[in-house]
Symmetry: C2
Subunit: 190 residues, 2 copies
């Protein structure tokens, strides 16, 4: 557990601002002002605006990748694996909802690391697709269009960051369980 450096503070503050207005609309002067300093001073801690975005996004993308890999390697039913994926998203989004906004909305502004990010993203989708396809094959999951099931689940999980800061969702265990119910069982009573 390292102590938080000034650089970490800057990145955290930047993520908060990026969530409100997006990467392109946030200026280094905005960021400096939120930190209580002048824009030029930021550059003693970070190399560039682009580096801030890169650190926010790549860190999160790698967390998802390694989290999913662990789930994939476990010996659970595919429905259980999906429940674990829900937990993974709730956990990461709870810890860092601001960063999640950049991951979802500002990845296209990555320069150097864009290809790497896209690779992680594509692989993530592909692995989740395989969990669903396996579930269909083993009769755990209905034989409906896999892409629709995949994107329905994934887009809900990806937008978690936008409502997780609200009061009702401070209990990650409970939220994960309720969300799994809705995503897996649907909302229909009959």
């Amino acid at each position: 557990m390292k102590t938080e450096t000034r650089k970490d503070e800057i990145i955290k503050t930047a993520a908060k601002l990026f969530k409100e207005k997006g990467y392109s609309a946030v200026t280094m002067r905005d960021l400096a002002s939120a930190m209580g300093m002048k824009a030029a001073s930021l550059y003693n801690h970070i190399k560039s605006k682009q580096q801030i975005l890169k650190e926010i996004i790549i860190t999160l993308a790698e967390e998802f990748t390694s989290g999913l890999r662990q789930i994939q390697q476990s010996e659970k039913s595919n429905i259980k694996k999906i429940e674990e994926v829900v937990k993974l998203h709730v956990k990461i989004a709870s810890q860092n909802p601001y960063g999640m906004a950049s991951l979802n909305n500002d990845w296209m502004h990555l320069e150097e690391k864009l290809d790497y990010y896209l690779e992680l993203r594509t692989n993530y989708e592909e692995e989740l697709r395989e969990i669903i396809a396996e579930g269909v094959k083993k009769d755990e999951i209905i034989d409906e269009n896999i892409e629709i099931m995949l994107f329905s689940i994934l887009t809900t999980l990806r937008s978690l960051y936008s409502w997780i800061p609200k009061k009702e969702y401070r209990n990650p265990e409970k939220l994960s369980q309720q969300l799994s119910t809705v995503l897996i069982q649907g909302i229909n009573k009959n």
Copy 2:
């Protein structure tokens, strides 16, 4: 059916660019270049960059508002109403996937019309919440956390624009039906 004016073309092209990089990162030079003209020439057709965003977003927001009002006033079961809401989103997103990106991601860059937009958005969510709450009360919908059901459905519908341009989803009827199944019945087989 009016013929498409140059202004309409500019707005359509702008929406396409906004979808790729977001409002703030698209310059009037980018837009002009995509239109095969110089930036200054754009101003013979539109008043400002801000006006383009406003037209894209407010038009769509009003379409959703009036669409939902019609559904709300019909005499259907609440589950049927949700199916109609799915159809509404599929229809609008199919007609204008580029504009939907701005509606979802760039509304915070609205200046003059921001408050109006937020009012429409809040009302939309509130009406949909009431449909779900009614459904729970009448035993059509499970008695699970309403906010979670609402946001799970809504975020899936809101992100439709990002995957609707793909080949498999060109049939709005079929897509609506499959998506309703997944959202309402879930994915579980047992």
